[in-house]
Symmetry: none
């Protein structure tokens, strides 16, 4: 195990470039100490790109202290207002979640997920992201559904509450081993017609478009979209949409909208929505 | 974070008794926060037996705080004056050590070491121990030589300084996976709300329905359906559609057809097709 790839000679555990395309996203972290611990955990495993969504306190001396020699990761941390913003440009996101979710994306154990995540990072068509939730409340269902896979760390059933920094450490460790271990590739990407993976932004626009059409045709009650949209996200999340496929699906939706009487602009739709 | 929901099903990773024969020994820890973090890390992975050699401050409120729900591990922690005392009754000890040592014991990567450690614990002729050194100075040569193996965690060469609690977390995680056989059971099909897989017939009827809508809206040229349909089949084939999902997709198509002026029967559609 852990043989270096032919292209990376001397050091026994030379990470591949793929690790530089991995974002670690902490959504709504409460404790600055955990932000620092996450930065340190990342850097020990060769990851550097920390994203913070609405951190309660940041920057903060406690984060600096716990980061130890990883202050540079904190300095370059990107702070965003929403998870969507933090995932802009991301083609594959995994949500760390201990809980089974109704209608969540496919669940994988951390060790199984690592080679998949790496593979998507190696493809080089965008960033990948590991998404971690708040220390107490974890990720919301909406946040989990924003991701293509849910990842769990096998823990003791009687006490499975890992510290946030410890969870970041484990995931980054698995990614590093996967990056250095030369696991066999999945065959999926070699299928004919395969195009680059769709970005999160493209996929979100597709969901918004589909939702608009479903509301317009009376299939979806816009006051209660959640359950149906969750099921749909679960389906397409499992498929891991490619760019061409998103274009096809949106083409179908455009054609349907034209067929039932002129495409409505997003503005008009918004107004209709607001009136309900 | 990562609290299990009350409804989470039977644990997929029943640990073996061997984990109860593993001691985690912290030699000369300086920061009580790290002792608490180690206790929490242990308990999440099903380990409970913490030994402390000359801790600088213990007990300590900071240790309690960082232990979170693992206060019981701290309460039962055994404090000793020397490493020899802490290793009394131990048949196999491994030293966590990043550095190569002259005359040190055989070095193994954490993942390689875990099954060996477990094997010794399962033999049942005594305890095994994971030995961790001081946060700044690590283990002394004497301490490492007191152990049968040296274990290292593969880390980035430019910054390999793992936090003590994080190192304990990684080792305990590797032990837990080794104890549980490494591989999880396939969780995908046990998700709540996942419905039985759709039958081939159901799926074919869905494709026919989708094709009809695409032709009707002008998106698909019925004389040349092949390439587009192949792409669509590839997408949904990858997702491995469930029965409920096929129903949802067909519901969307029905609603769209009604929206653009009365659903056409398959018969009429067939005739239209034949005429081309």
């Amino acid at each position: 195990m852990n043989r270096p790839s032919p292209s990376s000679p001397a050091p026994p555990f030379a990470p591949r470039d793929a690790l530089s395309r991995v974002r670690v996203v902490l959504s709504n972290p409460s404790h600055p100490g955990n932000i620092g611990a996450a930065a340190r955990a990342m850097k020990t495993m060769g990851l550097r790109r920390l994203y913070l969504v609405r951190p309660k306190r940041f920057p903060d001396p406690e984060a600096d202290a716990r980061a130890a020699g990883a202050g540079d990761v904190l300095e370059r941390a990107v702070v965003r207002e929403t998870l969507d913003d933090a995932l802009s440009g991301v083609v594959f996101a995994v949500a760390l979640s201990a809980r089974h979710r109704n209608l969540g994306p496919q669940r994988l154990q951390a060790r199984e997920a690592a080679p998949l995540i790496l593979e998507r990072a190696e493809a080089g068509d965008g960033d990948v992201a590991l998404v971690f939730g708040n220390e107490t409340t974890g990720l919301s269902n909406d946040e989990v559904q924003r991701c293509q896979r849910a990842v769990f760390i096998p823990a003791d059933a009687s006490y499975s509450s890992l510290n946030l920094g410890a969870a970041v450490q484990l995931l980054c460790y698995e990614l590093r081993l996967a990056a250095c271990g030369g696991r066999p590739r999945e065959a999926t990407r070699t299928l004919p017609f395969s195009s680059p993976p769709a970005s999160s932004d493209d996929i979100e626009r597709f969901y918004a478009h589909l939702m608009r059409v479903m509301v317009r045709t009376g299939f979806l009650d816009p006051r209660q979209p959640k359950r149906l949209m969750a099921k749909i996200r679960r389906l397409f999340g499992r498929a891991a949409l490619e760019r061409d496929e998103v274009n096809i699906m949106r083409g179908i939706l455009d054609a349907a909208e034209r067929a039932f009487g002129g495409q409505i602009s997003e503005d008009r739709f918004q107004k209709t929505e607001d009136r309900r």
